[in-house]
Each structure stands twice: as structure tokens, then as C-alpha cells.
Symmetry: D2
Subunit: 294 residues, 4 copies
């Protein structure tokens, strides 16, 4: 398939490479040009602007946030966006973690333009992206999702269908990230209590993960907390705050209070006020530790 | 070994039976006598008072709360407790979920009386107790724990050593239950958001538990929330509130704020104010659902 | 002075009338035209568009929210805004409760256009607006504020100077409204507890306001809670939520956690989820009452 | 009247002196004897034990907490309490801030002993106690309160009747203190935001207290926060935590969630974990300041 790929960050690079390896033709655009050149060596074609990838049948966006997606899709003062350049019948797959509200706007914009829109955010860290082992949550028109399936199969280990409304996939992704944030905050409080009560942190983690919480997320984040090692960051604290904020915004517009998310948001803000913007979001556990006088 | 067993509730009955099956001699006491008689058929001897089990080398208590343990150990107005009746050199294993503060008092009382005290609370539901598959968290004098190991091996699938200070085991158990309560509350908020956003609840749970949360606790509690089925209760809401309260009390005396536990406590109280005292603690998710207007 | 006045809502109408009474010349614009016609009878001139008030020396905006101010100042698709029509040397006084972020953008836009910008949000209800008894918080260029003082003197009982940075006045206003929201939420919890404990609500309020809380805000909101009378609304719940949201947004960009504001936000959302959008924001107390099973 | 007075702390000393000045006969007991001797110079008689004041018609207790009241009333291992020594027909006025639960127990104990029990906690600081300007919240048997009125008139500026159930007065007092704690926490967050946003703290306080919050409590606590002056403490942080804890306990047994109280409790614990136990409870505002990176 002819695939346009916009956004060669930590996640996007691995995903695009897997598409190339599987024999797809990839035309890539990235704001920082050096990343595109890197991918050229794997066989990609380079585009000079977002609109430059528009001739492809499918365009994938994998960008940092709403703002980046908006600029690429709708265009900015300086340059046109990919939306107006797309040919009728082509599909835009938005794989970034974006707001429900933007996803709804994208769906509307595509609907009125004769192009299709599939929201397909992913669960997984850069290593999973590289290994083609992402979990993909796809939502949108069934026919369009079916056409994208060969691409999903290359990038992920499994695709979940979240229904016909594209933003449902984004909502589901945000729910997942909110729940991860809750796990991290809970671990932070638990270890502050355990450490202050004289428990050995490593043993505490062992007991927890070999009894009631035998899941990688508890092992990984718990391990970071036990080792007090939050750099280099796998997922930086400002990104954590952003995702919690997006979950809260989606919840507010649906009139759903999320007290745990509100609390976690305050903890992230507290962490950022201490200057921890380059640390992994698991460093929010240090907010609990400091509050406990540790 | 000659074992005294006090407390034949949902958990205790299965544990005592496993001791009998393994060939240990069990003398049992339970406030409601019919339970003791049931165990007689499996070969147990019946005691008429807590003190009646005192001639045994090891006495296990598996009771509902601090108050029950205090009455049994220190005695009440009506009858003497087991503590004063124990022979020097015998061991009291406290397997109930009790407060750190009571566990500390028990350690002190035993220390001055020539008897040993091992705190050994467990993770696991009644089915695991029956199957001898509990996870046991033991803390206390190493030598005493070693003597108890054959009993632990019969009741549990694995024993974790939480150190020399008995109440450390209780603290660890309370941390675990606090973390479970946090998972339930988080699931409640997540499903309120998902449902109000139009996600299919069963699909949401499938995605979550097959991607980032592949742990039984998410599957079980999530399943209850998806089915909105909170009776019969595996663990009633007032018990959930009690454990969170004990975690908060331990944390307060160690000067550790636990904002998530405070929040969950408020949600349980809200649930009880709606008259849900006979529902499983997972029914706290209905507090989130109602708050969202569902 | 020649004053343009945009926004004749519950607050703006009284303010504009007071300007007319004091002999100022007022050219008014309101989206709903009937309101402008009402003011014509008091001697105002009518403008057909926001830009129509631009010939005045001073233009006051008193509108519902950021969106309304943006449309009026920067213009919409349909019509030009007032900003580009203003003559050099004229002053825009923004008296609406708007975000710190928009106020900063307005300051920047005016700064580059040769016009002045004064932020002057107010404390006070419609009755105070009508009586010329508002408290005005003004911030901006000292010289510009001095020029506006005669107008402030007519609309308010006192003007406070919040410094040279216009958005400081908006921040101060948002802080005040956040604190009001906290008072209401606290009263809601207090009365839920008092009522469930068997206290007479009216007596409770009497004791509180005649001892430690002798302030009108406690008397007024407490009285509404005692009478359970939340309609007609003086200030509707969605507006309360909006202001708390703006306080949280300002705080987030300054990296300040506001846990009380987060909590109050969740309570307002819960109230809106029950369908209470037409009730006074003091109806958030009913969230506490329902949570307590009242 | 012959009055027994137990507890000559910062509050009790002034109250007892006012009784003496008004011509009442006072027999006083205090754990630290030097305080009693001080009062002897004003004409008081000294008792050597709590029971030593029992011959009086009325016995007032004004002590630090539940534990102190329990020891004095019910006696300890070392000495008898005042309850069993009281003559039939005499009245115990409990003016300390104690739990609803202990107040209920006291009512029951007196009821079965032929003596009367009036709960009469107070609002006011030591200076008000000295000046006879306390606000007294009395609850209990009407006849008994009537008999106490001459004493209340000497100690306070006004007496409020909170009904026939004595513990209602304690509940009301705890509600008041919870609301004060909420004001302090809210001020702490507000000033953290204001300061970080560049507002002058003193001006912020002036605007707030001259517009929407013209109450001494906002001026006093706000002033402490503006000056960052929390020592010497008028009311120490551990006492603040204690009162919030009592409010939460009363609320829990009545099944009333108090999310603001839960939040404030966490903030006090955080403050104590930083070693601020000798600071005024208004120092909890420093928790907000530190969280904001100030």
C-alpha cells in the first residue's frame, strides 16, 4: 500500500520502519528533517510538507499532541495541511493520543470532504512500536478499518475494534492512560507508607507483584520507584499531565466527575512545580515521598 | 503439631480443614458454636472458650476485626483471654487483617509473657483458603516463623517474610488492600466515563485486561462492574471501608498522607449512606456511576 | 466621556445605566437587540455591531465568557471586531470574568495597536451593579486607569489597583470566585453533616454566622442551603464551573496545584450530571446532601 | 454558685478567673499543680485530684482532648474520677472540644447516675476566654442549662442552645472547626496561586477582606499567611488535625462523606511530616506554597 507517514518520533519511527519492512511504500514527513533522512535509508520517500504525503492511499499521523495534529491536518499560517490535499477515497489514520474533541472535529472534517477517518491510538512503549507489538484501538467506518487492517497487522500484535465513532478509540486510550496514572500515584503513596513504616521497598514490590498485582505495569513502575530511577524518561511527566488533562476534559464534556484523575493532575502539577519536567511520569511518586517527609 | 484455631469464618474454616487434612491436631473455638461442630466432623476437638485452646503449641487467630481479636486474646468481662492461658514457649499466629497498632500491642504483650507472636495476614479469597492457596505474609522472630512454616505450607501456596517486626506484615497487608480499593475506585470512574461516552462496557474491559492490565484483580472486579452484579458479596463494603480506615490510621501515625485512600474512604461512606452495606466493595463503582448521572 | 458599552446582560445593563445617569454618553451594542432598545430609553445610542462602538474614547466589554469577548474584540467570520476599529489612543476596559490567558492576549493585541487595555473585573451581584456599588479590580497602565477612574467611580463603590499587568486583575477575580466556590462546598458538607446529626439547619447557620463567620457570603449561601431554595439562580452552576475551570487553568500554567478547586470542580460536574444547570451554584450543596443519603 | 473547675490551660485559666471575679466559689484542679496555685491568688480553692472538686454543685471540665476528659471523669488506674464522686443533682458541664462519641458516653454515664450533663463547647481564642467574650454552644436538659446560665453569662458574650442532645453541641463545634480548617486551606491555595502569579500578597488580602470576605477569620489567618508568621502558635497544627479527625469520625459514624475535611486532613499530615508540629495550624498554607514550588 502507498502510505504517508507524518511524525517520526520515538513511536512513529519504529512503526514506519515496520511498514517498510513489510513491503509497503512509505512517504514520510517530519518537522525535524534529520529524522526523515534516517528513514530514507530504510527505503522511505521524503516529503517536504505535510501536504506532500497526500497522494498516498492512506496517511498516518503519529504526533505529540492536539496542536501538532491540527497544524499538520488543517495547515498553519505558513503552509497548507494534509486534509485539503487528500484525494477523495483516501484514509487518514490518526494514531496519536489526542483529545476526543479534536478527534470529533477530524471526523467531521473528513466526512464532509469525501475522505475517511480512522482513529487508531495505541498502547505500547517505543520498544513495542519497534517490534511491531503495539495494541491498536481502532474506531471508525468498518470498511475503512478493514482496508487499514494489513497496516495494523504489521505495526501491532492485535487490533481492537472500538466501534463506528472514531473518537471512541481516543476515549478508550485516554481511559487507559488515566488508569495507568492512577496505578503510579497509588504505588507512590503505597511505597511512601511502606518505606516510612520500615518495610524494605524491594520486598514490598515482590510481594505485591507475586500476589495480587502480577502485571507488567506494576512491576515496571514499581521497579522505578524502588530504584528511585526516573531518568531517562520513557514517558515524561508533562505528557502524563497532558493525558490526564485530556481525560478530564472528555469527562467534563460528558458530565462525568473523575476524582482520582483530578487528584493525579494535582500531583503532576506539584511535580512539575519542583522542576521535574524531564523525569518519567513515575517520578510523581516523589511527590508522595516528599509529602511524607522522606 | 497441636494447633489451636480461633475463628471459623469464611476464611478460617478452610484453613483449619487444611491443617486437619495434613495430619495436624486442631482444637477449635468459634463464637457461633455450630461452626465448631461442623469442623468436629473433620476431626477437630472443640473448645468452649478462647482460653480452651491454650494448651496447644501454636494458636492461630483468624477473626473479623481488631475488636474480636482483642476480646479473644485479652479476654472480656465475661471470660478470660487466650493470652494469659498460653504456656511459655507457645506461639500465637495472628492471621486476621488487623491494625498495625493492635499488632504492636500484641507483640508487646507476648514479649513480656514468654510466648511468641507471629503476624501472618493473608492475601486470598475463601476459595483460596479452602484450596490451601493463600499467600501468607509472615513477620516476627525468625525462629518462631521457622516453627510455623509447616503450618503455612499447608494453608498457603507461598510464604513471604516481611521482617522481624510483626506489625510490618500487617502494614503490608493493609497496603495491599488499599491498593485493591484504589483499583476498584479507578475502575468505577473509568467505566462511568466509558459508558457515558458510548463505549461498550464488556469491550472496554476486554481491551484493558488484554493490554495494560492483564491481572485477575482487574478481570474480576471489572467483570462485576460490567455485569453490575455486586451480590452475593465476596467482601462487603463495610469491610473495605474498615481496611482503608486502618491503612489511613497507620499512615497518620507514621505521618504519611494518602490522598487516594482518603478519596476512596469518602466513596465507601457515600455507598454506605445509600444503604449498600450488603454489597461487595466493588459496588463503590456505583457511586461514580450515580455521580455521572447514570 | 464617550463610552462604548458591549454586553447588556444582568450586570452590564445596570452598569451602563449608571454611566448614563452620571452624564456620560453611551453607545451600546448587545447581541440580542431588544436589550439595546431598552437602554435607548435611558439615552443611549445604539450600535449595530461591536465595531459600531469604536469611535468612543473608551470601550467597555461586559460579556459572559472568553468566547463572547473574543468574538467581539477580534471579530468572527461574519463581522469585524472592535479592536481593529478602535482609534489610536482609545482604551478598552474588559470588565468580564475572563481567563488570564485571554487577558494576556488582549494586552498584547492592544499593545501592538496603539490602543490601551485595562482589565477591570468586578465583585458584586446584579443588584450591586444597578446601585453602582460594585468592587472594581483594575490593572493595567497607570495613566490609562487614571483616565478610567471617573467611570469606575460611577459604577463601583471602590476601585482596587492590582498592578500594571492587566491579567493580574483577572487572576485576582478568579481567586475570589474560587474562594467563594470553596465556601459553598464547605457549607454543603457542613450542613449535610449537621442535618444528618440532628441539628436544626437554621440554628446551625445562626450560630456559625453570629460567631466565626459573620460575612454576607456565609449568610446568603447558607440561607439558600437552609431553605433548599436554588431557583431563580443568582449565578448558575455552569458559570460556577466555568470560573473554577479558569482558576484551575491559570493555576496549571503557573504550576500551582489547587486541590480544593479540583474537588469543587468534580462536585459541580456531579451537579450538572443530575440536570441542575439552571440552579444557583449553591445547589452544589445538594451533591453533598445526596452523597450523605439525605 | 459552688463551681469545680478542672483544666487550667490557656482557655480554662481565663474562664475560671471570670467565675471568681463574678463572685462564684471555685475549687480548681489541674494536672500541673503550679497553674492551680496561680489561681489560688485569685481566691480559688485547690483540689488534689479530679474527685476533689466533686462536692460542688457544678463541675466544669476544660481539657485538651478526649483522653484527658476520660481520665478525669472516669478515673485512671491511679485515681478515681469525678463522676463517681459527684453528688446526685449536680451538673457536669463539659466545655472541651471532644468527640461526639465521648459526649454520648458521658451523657449515658451521667443519666444512669442521677447527675446531669451539659455539653457546652466554645468558640473563641484565649483572649476571648480572658475577656469573658466566648461564644458558648450549650446542649442538654433545658432545666440544667438554665441553672448553668449565670456561669455562661460570666464566661461568654452569648450562649446558643443547640438542643436537648448534649453531643449536638459538640457536633456543632466540630463543624465550626472543620469550616475554619477549610478557610485556612483555601487561603493557602489562593495565596500560593496569587504569589506565583505575581500578585502582591498584602494587596490580595486587602481586596479579599474588603470585598467578599469581611470576616475576622479571613483577616487573621490571611494576615499570618501574608507575613508567613506561624509562631508563636495560637492553635497548633496537631490540634487542628485532631479536630478535623473528630469531625471525620463523627461524619463517618453518621455516614456523611466530607471530602474537604479529608483533603485538609492530608494537608495537615503533610505539614506534620515536615516537622511543623509547633506551628500554628495556619502553617498548613506552607504545604500549598511548597507544592507550588515557592
Amino acid at each position: 500500500m502507498k502510505v504517508g507517514f507524518i511524525g517520526l518520533g520515538n513511536m512513529g519511527m519504529g512503526m514506519a520502519r515496520n511498514l517498510l519492512k513489510a513491503g509497503h511504500s512509505v512517504t514520510a514527513y517530519n518537522r525535524t528533517r534529520s529524522r526523515t533522512e534516517e528513514l530514507q535509508q530504510d527505503g522511505a520517500t521524503t516529503a517536504d510538507s505535510p501536504a506532500g504525503v497526500a497522494p498516498c492511499e492512506v496517511v498516518i499521523t503519529m504526533l505529540a499532541d492536539d496542536h501538532a495534529v491540527e497544524q499538520v491536518v488543517f495547515g498553519s499560517k505558513e503552509s497548507g495541511g494534509v486534509l485539503s490535499a487528500l484525494r477523495s477515497g483516501s484514509i487518514h489514520i490518526s494514531m496519536s493520543t489526542i483529545s476526543v474533541e479534536l478527534s470529533d472535529r477530524l471526523a467531521e472534517a473528513h466526512g464532509s470532504g469525501g475522505t475517511s477517518y480512522v482513529a487508531a491510538p495505541v498502547f505500547g512503549r517505543p520498544a513495542a512500536a519497534e517490534a511491531g507489538q503495539l495494541a491498536i484501538i481502532a474506531a471508525g467506518d468498518d470498511e475503512a478499518i478493514k482496508q487499514c487492517q494489513p497496516l495494523f497487522d504489521v505495526m501491532g500484535r492485535r487490533t481492537f475494534n472500538a466501534g463506528e465513532k472514531p473518537s471512541n478509540a481516543n476515549l478508550l486510550k485516554l481511559i487507559g492512560n488515566f488508569m495507568l496514572a492512577s496505578v503510579i500515584e497509588t504505588l507512590g503513596e503505597a511505597f511512601a507508607l511502606g518505606r516510612k513504616g520500615g518495610l524494605d521497598a524491594a520486598s514490598l514490590l515482590e510481594v505485591l507483584t507475586e500476589t495480587i498485582f502480577p502485571a507488567p505495569v506494576y512491576k515496571n513502575y514499581g521497579g522505578m520507584i524502588v530504584r528511585q530511577e526516573f531518568e531517562p524518561a520513557g514517558f515524561k511527566m508533562p505528557l502524563g499531565l497532558k493525558d490526564v488533562r485530556l481525560a478530564l476534559a472528555a469527562a467534563e464534556s460528558l458530565k462525568v466527575p473523575l476524582p482520582i484523575a483530578s487528584l493525579v493532575r494535582d500531583q503532576f502539577i506539584t511535580g512539575l512545580a519542583q522542576g521535574w519536567e524531564d523525569k518519567d511520569w513515575a517520578a510523581v511518586s516523589m511527590v508522595s515521598a516528599k509529602a511524607a517527609g522522606l
